[in-house]
Assembly symmetry: D2
Homo-oligomer: 382 residues x 4
């Protein structure tokens, strides 16, 4: 069962990369985007480091240099290649990394076939698989960035072209004031930052049933949203001016018509699609312009059973902070989430490139407020 | 009454600057520190811009160029001298700025002597005075920075040398779980960010009755606090490494003994004094090392009647975010607080250089997590 | 004849790349190093742009986007991909670029088979071939940088491992004072910056017959050369401190023993080999430490018939400036050399990776004084 | 005699500062501009360090901290305040620095009254006085920068307003080819970089008898000189684009009319005045646009007896390099000139703010090619 899950998830990472040319695996156009070959190696390194090396008897390391190359931010585990350097590494080659994956999968097969596997180890495997799923979404967003910033605008795929029409009827539902339980409960996997279920008091609020779409956002742009400081945080306004931001990421004005790069190539912007690739600054400014606000992550979670969600990661008005009682785990695994709990904003929901079965209403995603390469969108509250 | 308050507060700003040499009024060693003469001008400009020009009949502007020089961050009011440039401006001279203050005070005298002054204008005057008090604290912190970063270490004063001994008994008091009302209530002045009193549910927690003192912090330093990443946020750790941080601001190791610059000059560090001039990153790392945590701003406010506070601004675990129902006021006054509500952390309490009568338990101070030139300290919770 | 030369030189570029993996073609670790696939494309683009498009009847462009991707610094010819971006481009793929080369070579075949080809066009072809040879040397230096900055230190080749022993006898020959003719004369190809042969008066000087070797340089290092400012230009000293320079590029101290990365992998430093990969700053500091100086480019040229040269590009004490009478050619070709004539230093000679028949005593190479990734070395004068 | 010269030159530094407000002495708007009080202190520190401390018996240092504050770039003499920090130092105050000067002058009086003063010490005093004169010119240029970058544009003086009309007749004189002696000869003071008189062979050339004036330069601007890359070095072109350069320093377009800030305040540009405050990049681009070139420093020196010069420092086409036989002096004095001999261009002549008797035809001034705050202008050659 776990073994089947393992294969299925591991294979999906390779499926995502199937349309790539070897060269696409290598580049790192900005610091936040990692080369696809790095994702493939790093997720394997995770299993090697936290499961095979400590728990599989007589395990032989694939290559001792790989720890140096594929560690991400785990300070506990020795020097890591500084993140900006990932795009400078032509070796190990893509082929070597696929061999590495194959080797790790074989060895994990031995480990998983052990009928006496402890619950603790099963939990670690589950963590590794959820970690891999996180990187699967990053594979999509990073590949999109790599191809979408190439002057030739190559398409990632030609077939499947999902169209997500946002309901034209914009409704607000009301959630009554009261004490709500927030955080994960029940069986199954969750990250440490979702635990510590606790009570939060919410005032009565209203939240939109649908996401902001491209047409809405075009109105904001045409109304001068990017040129009037009064909608923006001071920091957001400086970001706009310094980077000369005039539209969401991947939008290009060609002969007076807005286009956006999609995984299927460059297309005219469809006003009915949910808006994508905006920063928290833009989400906040749009809400201010519309006379609304963003929901908090607690409001979002309380309202979520009544919302249709999963197409876009939705920026909230909440900073990424520990829940009451949050404790960091011991060792390298403990570096997973807590060390990021400053200067980031929470996004809730999931997106069209989130891996299957890797979303739940208590999931707390988080990014710096200026980042836009994730499939991030906007839902309004009041 | 308001007129008396006006004179008293305005005079205090000049009293603070009394010990300065003309040259001390001019420099800006880092972007966060403004030249004292700028503070004196800017606080006067506030009254001129928001009260005299719109509301005093036949008012004649002192100098039309001063708007350009003394505007701080009010985008509504025309181009401002970018903040980094303040330290390059030798003119207007200190004498001219004192003349400007005198002129503004005379003209404000006319305005305040109007028996029919509306409540709205009285509120605006009060806002101006509270604004001036905020800059009085900044005068202290900025003067300290200017003199404390001069290789001659000149003292600001020789007399009064307050000694704040922190009680050696470290006690934790327990606050029971429940719904607490948070935010300003009652008569009197408060800032817009304190309004919108609302309910917050708190779990049972314990909070220390006393602040962390220098002796405690020396233990952290000696235990390798600055060299072990595991106590730090990732961002904090990078800040430590990049800036080679090894001690609080103003601390210097001289012949193996720690000294710190105070307003009375360079002195050996007193282990019994409350710790001062640490960043949020350091506050968080210290708490992690001590096996505790920082309180949230809501916990702090709920516990505050039982705490002795007012010596240090106390870093909390809360990001600076709007209270439910927060609305930005119209016009330039509306830029006062809301535009800063991203990537800053809340500090509660007050400090030994906070102006008299300028503190209350609902006051929300806020700074970026790396800043240390305020009188910031640490209180622990668990 | 020209046609034969064309094939020979064009093939050599591909031969250089033969040992590479696809991934090695893609990366750009620093701004000065270009991805090998870019070199292969850019040299082809040169023939397409300056010969095929203007002069081959009915020529069909291979891909109109390639001008955007493979232009280097020719402002005349439309927007170019800014240099820092080259390493972000996964497309066109290596295979596509080899197809591009093949297409260009076929088309050039048609052009070159024209018996009536004008002298002007033959000269342009020659320029293109010399340009390609310049990029052949860059292919070597850039591949070395890419592999030599990979933590796995992969070797470029395993076979041929030239050993250049520097004669242990260090002799100075004297060149008498007098008027010397400097600059290219005679038949054959030269760059525009070598023309305008002119007289230069030289005082009597002495110049070493052999290059500085690794052993000499180790003495300088052991004598504290990198820690005593008095040997350095102010700018060089700041470069040393800011970049924490302690040895030539590619040198690594492993367990107390100096190693250097070579095209055959990481090896212990051989004291008898000519020193390689130093900046002008280092060359100048070494000479100052040794109580000598670097020769000027005019001294070098005058002495060159009596020197053995060709293993290292030799830094001179001459800035890269126009010869009397130098004129920039019209159009894009005119951008070739003149626009670089500020803030660069001249190197004379050639190196072990200079292409065959691509060196002559009047050749003026030039780089910024901090650059080290070329095969640069030191010859002393007095 | 030397004593009289000493007083006269030392007093002139204070005369230059007479019109300043205390605040004007303190600021440092850019790294190249030093606060006037620093110049006053540094020139005194020179006499204290190189004459009084080593050679005046029983000399008592004025303040041991001053070495730390007023050292400029003499690495030999202990840590110096890094140059960017000069503008952060409010202390020592202006009054203290005038006291310092007074003290140094008294003590120098004792030294100079010694009838047995050695020639070596007399030479050192002369060097100190020439050093002071260099800083006198910097006082003018730095004061101009400080006042000219203040939004109030205060005038430095109201009276004397020299008008330098450039002769409308633009003539070229021809200098015949031949061997010329270059470098200082004869009695009297010169800097080490002028010594080592040597022969230089020059081709026949023509050089303009008059400087380029503002009217000429306006033609270049109107002809699109700042928007056509073909006149520029690559590095110059990037400087233009990055800094959005559109005119010489101190030029402002107000209501369609060009003004420039002068020591007498902001005035309309006078087309007949010699052009001032251009970089080497601009000088080169102007010459390229005009179909001419800049003279080399050798051509300039050979032609100088036939030229009228002294209003502007004239950019030459020569990089700042050592003359044949140049040797650095031992000790701190040796740092005077040699360490700057890389990446700077030579200017010849003198300017209207050069100190009296501080110019000669062999004087080699030098600055980085982007700098403009000196009184730099253009003379053409062909």
């Amino acid at each position: 069962m776990l073994s089947y899950k393992y294969s299925q998830i591991r294979e999906f990472s390779e499926d995502i990369c199937f349309p790539l040319k070897t060269e696409d695996y290598v580049v790192q156009p900005i610091i936040d985007v990692s080369p696809p070959k790095w994702h493939l190696g790093h997720t394997s390194w995770f299993f090697e480091t936290f499961l095979l090396k400590p728990y599989l008897q007589d395990y032989e390391e694939f290559d001792p240099n790989f720890n140096y190359v594929f560690n991400s931010y785990y300070e506990t585990l020795g020097n890591r290649v500084i993140r900006t350097d990932r795009g400078n590494l032509s070796r190990p080659t893509v082929e070597e990394i696929y061999n590495y994956r194959k080797y790790i999968d074989e060895q994990m097969g031995f480990l998983l076939s052990d009928a006496t596997l402890s619950e603790m180890l099963k939990d670690l495997v589950l963590l590794g698989l959820n970690h891999e799923q996180q990187h699967q979404e990053l594979l999509f967003t990073d590949i999109k960035y790599i191809l979408g910033h190439n002057p030739l605008f190559p398409a990632y795929r030609t077939g499947r072209q999902e169209f997500h029409k946002v309901s034209p009827i914009r409704e607000y539902i009301e959630i009554p004031e009261g004490l709500y339980e927030i955080g994960f409960e029940g069986e199954g996997f969750c990250f440490d930052n979702e635990r510590c279920r606790h009570k939060v008091f919410l005032n009565t609020f209203q939240i939109s049933t649908s996401l902001v779409n491209n047409g809405d956002y075009l109105e904001f742009m045409e109304a001068g949203g990017y040129t009037n400081f009064k909608y923006w945080h001071l920091e957001g306004w400086e970001w706009v001016k310094q980077n000369q931001i005039k539209a969401p990421l991947y939008w290009h004005e060609i002969d007076g018509l807005w286009h956006n790069y999609t995984l299927n190539g460059l297309k005219p912007v469809n006003p009915d699609e949910p808006l994508c690739h905006v920063s928290y600054y833009e989400a906040h400014a749009f809400a201010a312009w519309a006379g609304k606000r963003l929901p908090t992550e607690f409001e979002w979670e309380a309202a979520s059973p009544k919302l249709s969600w999963g197409k876009r990661w939705e920026w909230t008005e909440s900073a990424y902070l520990p829940y009451p009682g949050f404790k960091t785990a011991e060792g390298a695994i403990g570096e997973y989430n807590g060390k990021f709990m400053v200067n980031q904003m929470v996004l809730r929901g999931a997106s069209e490139v989130t891996s299957p079965k890797h979303s739940r209403k208590t999931y707390r995603n988080f990014f710096q407020p200026n980042l836009r390469w994730q499939y991030s969108g906007i839902r309004l509250a009041q």
